[in-house]
């Protein structure tokens, strides 16, 4: 029992150990290899890293919920883009003209609503058809992306509003807005998963769906709520990012779903559901961003970064499998 608890602790804090390892490696390697004068673990550099983690990180929180629930959502990248298009385009709609700068919260609300509606569509289809979420969201990934292109063709949608940029670039206690949003969302989702009945049911449904049905949990509506949550978070991520940049290309957000899933899996959430934690996902997001930034720091190009991250992901899952074995007496299958 003692050993079991220790094993569990090692596994749960593994991602943080990995982050520390990365920090040490890049600080030392950066000392010899980097072209820049600054140390890797420079305070400003770390703040920037947190800010850059936010877009993927906010979506990853939602993905953690959906994956613990035993589902997956591949449409988050497209939702991210479509929410941005709605937000930036709606700011110039004539009916909102009298609002002046008050159009900003209205547009934000519209973008968030878009995300929730898209999530609800995914959830509703999964609920009513019983088709696997992987397939449903694979379809909606293509479909939602189609909507983005229908909106403005190949053209970017842009809107420059300095008030909005000011809000997006504001700092509180030295932390930029995206970082703050990421941290607040992490806390909120953590509270939801660990302290509320809905949150505990997320685990129960993902762990043993039949047991949940037998216990009278209405699994369909329950899963739909989680798809609405991830849709909302994908849109929120989009709001945070595009409030600062003010311009969205129809191809933006592509492959986000894969980065998000990578971060969630690195954080130890089980692909089959029932197990996972948003704190560990937060760690997973930071770990990936550290790798990207760190490898850039020591002069590797993007292709190299992808290769390394991919290899690490497989290595982590292999290690996890080894840790889960109960010893030599275990069944060989």
């Amino acid at each position: 029992m003692q050993q079991e608890t220790r094993k569990r602790m090692i596994k749960e804090s593994a991602i943080w150990g990995f982050i520390v390892l990365e920090l040490i490696f890049f600080s030392v390697a950066g000392h010899f290899l980097s072209l820049s004068e600054n140390a890797f673990m420079d305070f400003e550099n770390m703040l920037l890293l947190l800010k850059q983690s936010a877009p993927i990180g906010i979506i990853a929180l939602g993905m953690t919920v959906v994956m613990i629930n035993g589902n997956i959502d591949l449409s988050v990248g497209a939702t991210f883009a479509l929410a941005a298009v709605v937000m930036l385009d709606s700011m110039s709609w004539p009916i909102f003209a009298p609002l002046g700068d008050w159009v900003i919260p209205v547009s934000w609300a519209l973008a968030l609503l878009t995300g929730m509606v898209l999530g609800a569509i995914n959830g509703f289809i999964v609920w009513k058809t019983g088709v696997d979420a992987f397939i449903v969201t694979l379809g909606s990934m293509l479909g939602f992306r189609g909507l983005v292109f229908m909106y403005n063709g190949e053209q970017p949608t842009f809107q420059l509003n300095w008030t909005m940029v000011d809000i997006a670039e504001a700092r509180l206690f030295g932390l930029q807005t995206p970082t703050l949003v990421l941290i607040v969302c992490t806390v909120l989702v953590w509270l939801m998963l660990n302290k509320t009945i809905h949150g505990r049911n997320v685990y129960a449904v993902g762990d043993n769906r039949e047991a949940a049905v037998n216990a009278g949990i209405r699994v369909g509506p329950h899963m739909m709520i989680n798809f609405i949550i991830i849709g909302f978070l994908a849109a929120l991520s989009s709001v945070v990012f595009y409030s600062a940049s003010g311009s969205v290309n129809p191809n933006d957000g592509m492959l986000y779903e894969l980065w998000v899933i990578t971060a969630v899996v690195l954080g130890g959430t089980k692909l089959t559901g029932g197990k996972g934690s948003v704190i560990a996902t937060f760690g997973g997001v930071i770990a990936i961003q550290l790798l990207r930034k760190g490898l850039g720091h020591i002069g590797a190009d993007t292709a190299m970064v992808n290769l390394v991250i991919g290899s690490i992901l497989i290595a982590v899952l292999y290690l996890d499998k080894q840790l889960n074995r109960k010893g030599d007496g275990d069944l060989k299958v």
Binding site: Y203, N208, A211, G216, G329, D330
Partner: protein, 506 residues
């Protein structure tokens, strides 16, 4: 208070349930009195589970009514049924392993505070009290995944105690319980009964039914066959109602001439699972392994079959030491394992009968680059006739066969590999009693034709019926070996139980 002048706690009247192409229940009526244990019996497929699912709100009946007391009720959902006081304890464990014991007990109805928060204090206090009542050796904060199967079953039972139950359905509750744990379960049932709760008890095991039930209702082919007062009937009458004929349930009395030692095991150990196990099996002999769940019997079989790596000890086949690292090695040395779980370990349910039988040797049955259909069918025909497998033709998917015939397919598969040692783990689990004796006879015949057979079973009558020798195990250790003449229920129970050390179930 006499049982007869009471109003039923729960009454089902003329329940009809059809599924596409099947009339699963055909006008079944059934009632439970408060404070009564009413056993529901019938072969697999007789409709017991369907009836209980109707009662538990998982299925809606096409016709018929359910009454609680005098009021007609509709069970719209499992929650609905539970709220009305009908609690269903499932046969298959229905637990979320990553959650705590307390969360599992109150799954679907966690106590609530403001903003939909979980009231942890109340949750732990309430579930702690229930666990105490059940005399469980673990606390409400334990993760269910860390518990033994038997303890998981106790968690399942604890769920029944969360509401003010009027009727509790136990669906094969003892399937994974050991004899010592059964005692605790029966105490719980007696306790519930004393509180005036009606108990519906589904089981295949006659001795349990006769031990705890007041009345027995028998179903056959979805139809009601009659209700008997337990005190006024016997096993034979119940069996006749169930299958329409009597059964031979005698114990093994034949003495076979055994040949040379086929398999010898010396000091075999595997970590904490079992230690220092030595025994031998001769050609033509059936050796039964009896013990509690977790005593290490299945693990020994898995080690002999190369699925686990032993930490010490020797395995000798016909006097020669062999090392077995994988099932391939085991098969090559003539060891075959009919595993515990037919459906997940023994068969590919979606494949047809022929392909399942030839699965281990299909690589050798080739004509040029292709699989030779003719050779495969020849093997299938041979074992279908030899084992009397009832299937329309070889194209039938095994998933559609009855449990007994599925088990024969698994046995046939290994016989076709011409083994010397055949290990059969829980040969009749989940098989109805008509087919059970067929499998038992088959095992006896196999031994007679020269195979060395090891039978692992949790059912005492089964072990006593088929074995020439019985080996009793407790907690990973070999306790004692009996010949068929020596063995009695009493000395066997003594040998396999650790009850003497402490009365509590660990």
């Amino acid at each position: 208070m006499s049982v007869h002048d009471q109003k039923p706690a729960l009454r089902l009247e003329g329940i009809v349930k059809t599924f596409p192409g099947v009339r699963a229940l055909d006008g079944v009526s059934f009632s439970v009195l408060p404070g009564e244990v009413h056993a529901l019996m019938g072969e697999n497929g007789a409709g017991k589970s369907t009836l209980m699912k109707v009662l538990g709100g998982l299925h809606q009946p096409n016709e018929g009514k359910i009454f609680m007391g005098d009021e007609p009720v509709v069970m719209g959902s499992p929650m609905d049924a539970k709220a009305k006081g009908v609690v269903f304890i499932h046969q298959e464990l229905s637990l979320a392993e990553e959650l705590s014991v307390a969360e599992n007990i109150y799954l679907g109805e966690l106590p609530r505070k403001s903003f939909g928060r979980v009231d942890w204090d109340r949750l732990y206090a309430d579930s702690g009290a229930i666990l105490k009542r059940l005399n469980c050796g673990f606390g409400p904060r334990t993760l269910v995944g860390d518990l033994s199967i038997a303890n998981m079953q106790m968690v399942e039972i604890a769920r029944a105690l969360t509401v003010d139950a009027k009727a509790v359905i136990f669906d094969e509750p003892t399937a994974s319980l050991t004899d010592a744990e059964k005692v605790v379960l029966f105490e719980v049932i007696a306790d519930l009964r004393a509180q005036g709760v009606g108990i519906i008890y589904i089981s295949h095991r006659m001795e349990e039914i006769f031990r705890i039930s007041d009345r027995i209702t028998v179903l056959r082919d979805g139809a009601y066959r009659g209700t008997l007062n337990t005190a006024e009937t016997d096993e034979d009458e119940v069996t006749r109602l169930m299958i329409g004929r009597s059964l031979d349930m005698s114990r093994n009395a034949e003495h076979v001439e055994t040949g040379d030692v086929a398999l010898e095991v010396r000091g075999l150990s595997c970590g904490k699972l079992f230690q220092d196990v030595s025994f031998e099996v001769r050609e033509g002999e059936v050796v039964g392994f009896y013990g509690l769940v977790g005593a290490g019997r299945t693990e020994i079989a898995e080690t002999l079959f190369g699925l686990r790596t032993p930490s010490a000890g020797k395995i000798l086949l016909k006097g020669k030491e062999v090392s077995i690292h994988s099932p391939m090695d085991a098969i090559a040395h003539g060891i075959s394992l009919v595993p515990e779980d037919r459906k997940t370990q023994g068969l590919v349910l979606g494949m047809n009968c022929r392909d399942n039988i030839t699965l281990p040797q299909v690589g050798d049955l080739t004509a040029g680059p292709f699989v030779s259909d003719g050779a495969e069918i020849a093997i299938f025909d041979q074992y279908r006739d030899r084992l009397d497998i009832k299937t329309p033709n070889w194209r039938q998917q095994v998933g559609n066969l009855s449990g007994g015939n599925q088990q024969k397919i698994v046995i046939g598969k290994w016989l076709s590999m011409h083994p010397e040692v055949l290990i059969v783990d829980e040969p009749t689990r989940g098989i109805d009693i008509g087919s059970k004796s067929e499998i038992h006879n088959l095992i006896r015949e196999l031994a007679k034709s020269g195979y060395a057979v090891i039978v692992i079973s949790s059912e005492m009558p089964e072990v006593m019926r088929v074995s020439d020798r019985v080996i009793a195990m407790y907690n990973g250790k070999l306790m004692r070996s009996f010949t068929a003449d020596e063995v009695t229920e009493d000395n066997l129970v003594q040998a396999i139980s650790g009850l003497s050390e402490n009365g509590k179930v660990a």
